[in-house]
């Protein structure tokens, strides 16, 4: 019985370590690419040693010794962030809170008004994936979603207009959030940074983002790395209904 308990405790501790390491390496594309590059380097070094390739094995051997230090230096901001947030409980967890019909109506009306005035806007509706990491660096709001408030946020020359609004359920979680821009080549290269940001967040989360173009006033809906044009109220409402079930 005691042995089983020890095995269980051992497994539990190892699980936490493995989960922490996985969370760190899968936290961003940059970190994961770095991990793959290092693994590739180790595999090539091992291959060179096995095949007794004297020159390459010697050079790669020297590089291998310096890898841990290079890794720590390059990824120090990411390592620090991982330690800071290792035991922080996500405020959202896995339960998705979806907005009411009234919230959807307010979003649709705000977006169509902003489009008619050629005012740029970026509104993200959260689903299962938490967007807390973006919200924490933005201006916290936690206020009820309303058409007037959304219009006010995106009105040019106001402090919050540049950035995204994150909506969770019936509340505006924050305004002025910044996302990592997508590097996709699927769409026009002249696409603005607002649209790229929307694509960026859709690639790393299961959220839905509505973008209003400042230049043309066109409304786009971005989800799962796909951008769709939706210029009438009914279509936007339909998308929101499908998403916010």
């Amino acid at each position: 019985m005691k042995d089983w308990l020890m095995i269980l405790l051992d497994g539990y501790i190892v699980w936490m370590i493995v989960f922490f390491l996985l969370s760190f390496f899968l936290s961003s594309k940059r970190v994961f690419r770095m991990l793959l590059f290092i693994l590739f380097l180790y595999v090539v070094t091992w291959g060179a040693e096995q095949l007794e390739l004297v020159i390459s094995a010697t050079i790669l051997g020297y590089i291998k010794e310096w890898i841990p230090l290079i890794f720590v230096v390059i990824l120090s901001p990411d390592i620090r962030k991982s330690f800071e947030s290792a035991f922080v409980i996500d405020s959202k967890r896995d339960v998705a809170t979806m907005g009411s019909a009234e919230t959807k109506q307010h979003i649709v009306e705000a977006v169509t008004y902003l489009s008619s005035q050629n005012i740029g806007a970026l509104i993200t509706v959260e689903k299962h994936s938490s967007l807390d990491q973006y919200a924490e660096r933005a201006i916290q709001m936690n206020s009820q979603v309303s058409k007037e408030l959304l219009i006010n946020i995106f009105t040019p020359l106001t402090p919050l207009h540049d950035g995204a609004v994150i909506i969770r359920g019936d509340t505006i979680r924050c305004a002025g959030a910044y996302y990592v821009l997508s590097e996709t080549t699927k769409y026009d290269k002249t696409m603005g940074s607002r649209h790229r940001a929307a694509l960026g967040i859709s690639e790393v989360s299961d959220s839905l983002t509505i973008v209003v173009s400042e230049e043309t006033g066109t409304i786009s809906i971005v989800i799962e790395g796909i951008m769709l044009k939706a210029n009438d109220k009914e279509k936007i409402y339909e998308y929101l209904n499908m998403f916010m079930k």
Partner: protein
């Protein structure tokens, strides 16, 4: 001469470049971000394998 050097260089680098263009690392990260269970499952699998290797075998 320069053209030949560039062509040889491109020929050597081509497989690595093509492998990079697959962006399979990006897909894994995106999938993991969208599915929180993925990391947990991998962690369970790793622990399972380690426990079996150390305590059973």
């Amino acid at each position: 001469m320069r053209k030949i050097i560039v062509q040889i260089g491109s020929f050597i680098l081509d497989p690595i470049r093509k492998f990079g263009q697959l962006k399979f690392s990006d897909r894994i990260v995106s999938f993991s971000n969208k599915n929180p269970w993925f990391k947990m499952l991998i962690a369970f699998m790793v622990v399972g394998v380690l426990v079996v290797m150390v305590y059973v075998l």
